[in-house]
């Protein structure tokens, strides 16, 4: 970002914040085993917040050469806005330590490397069963450099590179199509060998069977844990939702809101994890924030505005793009593991759920859900009996998390929400399962 932009904003507003971003990206789509589309390009932009008479205006542009127009727009917006007594300041400068996730091998990973990865991945898939295909898949890599400058003295720059790969593996088996979705994963850690593991997983969902309606134990795979917690729990610990009375956790700090087996932390500083960053999008240092300790609510997640409103320090959870104002989201969302090494042995009669159809349709504030099981298995006496079809589960999320039987020792990284969910399997004593007609 040119110094003249900063100078200009300074000359026009006493209180301001500039968020600047430059990014390079490429995207590859796989169709029927092979990449058949590659795109790449660059983007940049700036978003400016200014305060005029205690009123805030926000404007953004990607025509950086017209930065003056953008700043004037923000000022004119501020003039018609309303005074906000809760707005006190932008983030204050802090001592920044570099924690970013720049990985040299990943930074140089290009289209040709991906085409090679895909070939090796495909041959691993085929080694399990020749009939399996990669129906579709996609790979995205983005390198982004951001800079935040504000009138409190913050001037912070950070570069990150991230990538993700997901695909759908399918097979035509006895005239029927079966498929599994391989959720997004971080290709810097993966090896084409994951093709074998996922092809075996696909072979395990052939011959799906119906299940009778009943109430049984529910074992959620980390992917399903992530998608349910990302919808409802993340909404509830968002300080803005609590302040606005939209969170069921509002006013419950220090109270038990979950089962005592649950310990949940938001961690922005853990080394090498997906959402680890030196500071958030406003320039507040990342930190480790306990959310739930032995079932008791310890903290909400804050950005600068909501923290000022509650008279405390921001937890460094502001996320944004150039074209949007900061909003609160989780960094690395960690549910502490339990002590069960083979948690499935604790299931007498139950349902193991890995992938849910319609998780985004659950009512985030209330936690009411009624979802279809896209990948699930019937378990009896600790053993997988068969993969299920046409099964729904329904319940209330905030009741569910009060009654937990056990957590697994192993933790998996899942790409829900902001991308950094590190959670175990969770076993619940009961869930309403709606299956075939009796």
């Amino acid at each position: 970002m040119k110094q003249e932009i900063i100078n200009y904003v300074k000359s026009r507003a006493k209180s301001f914040e500039i968020y600047y971003s430059e990014a390079e990206m490429f995207n590859i789509e796989i169709f029927n085993n092979k990449p058949n589309f590659i795109s790449g390009g660059s983007s940049r932009g700036m978003g400016v917040r200014v305060i005029h008479d205690k009123k805030i205006g926000f404007a953004y542009t990607n025509s950086i050469d017209n930065y003056k127009e953008c700043v004037e727009k923000a000022l004119s917006i501020a003039k018609v806005s309303k005074e906000d007594p809760n707005f006190k300041n932008f983030a204050f400068p802090q001592k920044y330590k570099r924690l970013s996730n720049i990985n040299k091998e990943l930074a140089s990973f290009n289209e040709d490397n991906f085409v090679n990865f895909n070939e090796a991945f495909l041959s691993n898939v085929k080694s399990v069963d020749e009939r399996i295909s990669i129906n579709s898949g996609s790979y995205v890599k983005e390198t982004e450099k951001i800079r935040v400058v504000n009138s409190e003295g913050v001037d912070f720059e950070e570069e990150r590179v991230e990538n993700a790969f997901d695909c759908s593996l399918g097979i035509k088996f006895e005239g029927k199509l079966e498929s599994i979705d391989m959720a997004k994963c971080d290709i810097k850690k993966i090896d084409p060998v994951i093709g074998i593991e996922n092809a075996k997983r696909l072979m395990g969902v052939l011959n799906k069977q119906e299940l009778s309606s009943s109430t049984m134990q529910l074992l959620l795979h980390p992917e399903a844990v992530s998608s349910l917690f990302e919808q409802s729990f993340v909404f509830a610990v968002n300080a803005e939702n609590a302040q606005e009375g939209k969170s069921v956790f509002a006013g419950k700090l220090g109270q038990a809101v979950c089962n005592p087996l649950l310990d949940i932390t938001d961690d922005g500083i853990a080394k090498g994890l997906f959402c680890t960053r030196s500071c958030d999008c406003e320039g507040t240092l990342s930190q480790k924030t306990p959310l739930i300790k032995k079932g008791v609510l310890k903290n909400f997640l804050y950005d600068t505005y909501t923290a000022n409103k509650d008279g405390i320090k921001s937890t460094g959870n502001a996320y944004r793009s150039v074209a949007s104002l900061p909003s609160i989201d989780v960094n690395n969302f960690m549910i502490s593991p339990g002590n069960k090494s083979a948690i499935i042995n604790d299931v007498e009669k139950g349902l193991l759920v890995r992938n849910l159809l319609g998780a985004h349709t659950m009512n985030a504030p209330t936690g009411d859900f009624s979802l279809a099981v896209n990948e699930g298995y019937y378990i009896n006496k600790g053993e997988v009996i068969f993969p299920v079809k046409d099964v729904m589960i329904a319940g209330k999320f905030f009741e569910l998390i009060k009654d937990v039987t056990a957590l697994s020792k192993e933790v998996e990284h899942c790409f829900a929400g902001t991308g950094g969910f590190y959670v175990p399997y969770i076993l619940f004593p009961k869930i309403a399962v709606i299956g075939k007609k009796a």
């Binding site: 789509e29 159809l357 319940g395």
Partner: protein
């Protein structure tokens, strides 16, 4: 821009598109009469898409340096082996502007803000604890030229209004949202007052709603939810890329009976609804495509690539969310054609069942055919009468079965706008339907 098409061809591109897009957006968000956001911004982008040696390559930037974008797009396409061919189609030259009754840029931000503030009137709604009101507008200009000689320009206007109410009573918390979206201008606000009242009234009513019983029931779905049914249960499985990559249960079933005689489903990008796509992202003209006629599967939805492989007519369904993404077959405005029945006749048929209204979204696994959609509100039906409200209700079905379970179709077709997600891309679509009676619908409830 046309000369760059020639330049791409001279460098070996079998087919090229040169595109520029710019947009201006403004948002106003109020929470309990406080301003949460007042913002405005603009973005411009330029892209080159080529088919080169049988692969699609796209390069894009914030700079209109088409020469280097062509080089980069060709290089990307060349990194893959030859796979794709496309057909030849007629050229279109057209300038379009979305008709607006009230051009949004002619009304000041201040006036829009004041109008929004006035809408927060809680009189008569004692339990409403929080009300969020949101207005947004977008004006975008899209220019497209391609190897066929098409030259298109579209100045598009879209506006949206949302009311999201929370109600609290005796420690219980409920919420309800109502969204209105149009291809058009500030006239969207004509529906705002009713939308706010509905959001507050329903949020309060939900405080007394009970969980639904899970099981199998005769169920009436309203126009919104019926529309989601058309979209999830039929539309996705008709997208030709899914048909071609072993991901659709409807593959190979054209000409077969897949639903009851009274079910006909259409996708039509010409309708000026939220999914209006007069020309798709590849410059193909919108068409009215019959997916199902009287229960028989008739055709799929195509982009250039899939139409060539299946030797089918181009339907104008090639869409991408942004300049950087792949153009894939997507729905536009998808709806169940009106029938002969009525809501009153349907409800009279039901002894014990449900009436489900509004959509909180849906999802399908088009390969297995299983789909789910979630109702915003639900009511028990007892002996032909609407009884108590229920909440958290979804309906699950399987494509080939549920289409046969539609027993009655009313005359009262309505469409509504939303966004559809596929392959990490969101595009605006409309879904619609008349009221439908589904026999033996599978309902998920926690009671």
């Amino acid at each position: 821009m046309k000369k760059f098409v020639k330049l791409a061809e001279s460098q070996g591109a079998e087919y090229a598109e040169i595109i520029s897009a710019s947009s201006e957006r403004s948002n106003i968000e109020l929470l309990n009469k406080e301003i949460k956001e007042l913002s405005s911004g603009n973005q411009k982008g330029y892209a080159v898409r080529v088919l080169y040696h049988g692969g699609w390559g796209t390069a894009y930037s914030y700079k209109d340096d088409f020469k280097s974008l062509i080089v980069s797009a060709i290089k990307k396409a060349n990194a893959m082996g030859p796979q794709i061919e496309i057909g030849n189609y007629p050229a279109f030259r057209k300038k379009l502007r979305t008709p607006c009754k009230q051009r949004p840029e002619k009304i000041s931000l201040e006036e829009k803000k004041e109008n929004l503030l006035k809408l927060d009137n809680r009189q008569g709604f004692k339990s409403v604890s929080s009300l969020k009101l949101l207005y947004s507008e977008g004006i975008s200009v899209y220019s497209f030229v391609n190897s066929e000689g098409s030259d298109l320009e579209w100045e598009d206007y879209n506006t949206a209004f949302m009311a999201w109410a929370f109600a609290k009573q005796n420690g219980k918390l409920e919420n309800f949202f109502k969204i209105e979206r149009i291809k058009g201008g500030y006239e969207v606000m004509k529906k705002a007052k009713a939308a706010v009242a509905e959001a507050m009234q329903k949020a309060e009513a939900m405080l007394n709603a009970k969980p639904a019983k899970g099981g199998f029931f005769p169920t009436i779905v309203d126009q919104k939810l019926g529309g989601v049914f058309a979209h999830e249960a039929v539309g996705h499985a008709c997208e030709a890329d899914l048909v071609l990559n072993n991901s659709s249960i409807l593959a190979g079933k054209i000409g077969e009976k897949v639903g009851s005689d009274i079910v006909s489903i259409t996708d039509d990008g010409n309708l000026r609804e939220w999914g209006w796509t007069p020309f798709d992202s590849e410059g193909a003209k919108a068409s009215k495509t019959t997916l199902i006629k009287d229960g028989i599967l008739k055709s799929f939805l195509h982009n250039r690539e899939t139409a060539k492989i299946l030797n089918a007519k181009l339907t104008g369904n090639g869409r991408s969310q942004s300049l950087s993404q792949k153009v894939i077959p997507r729905m536009t405005n998808t709806y169940i054609e009106p029938g002969k029945s009525s809501f009153n006749k349907m409800i009279a048929e039901i002894k014990e069942g449900y009436y489900l209204k509004g959509s909180a979204g849906g999802q399908v696994n088009p390969a297995s055919g299983e789909f789910l959609f979630n109702a915003q509100e639900g009511y028990e039906i007892k002996n032909g009468q609407i009884a108590g409200m229920v909440k958290g209700v979804s309906l699950v079905g399987s494509i080939l079965q549920t289409l046969h379970q539609i027993k009655m179709v009313a005359k009262d077709l309505e469409l509504g706008g939303g966004y559809c997600g596929k392959s990490n891309q969101l595009v605006p679509v409309s879904d619609g339907s008349p009221h439908l009676l589904v026999h033996n619908a599978k309902i998920g409830g926690s009671q």
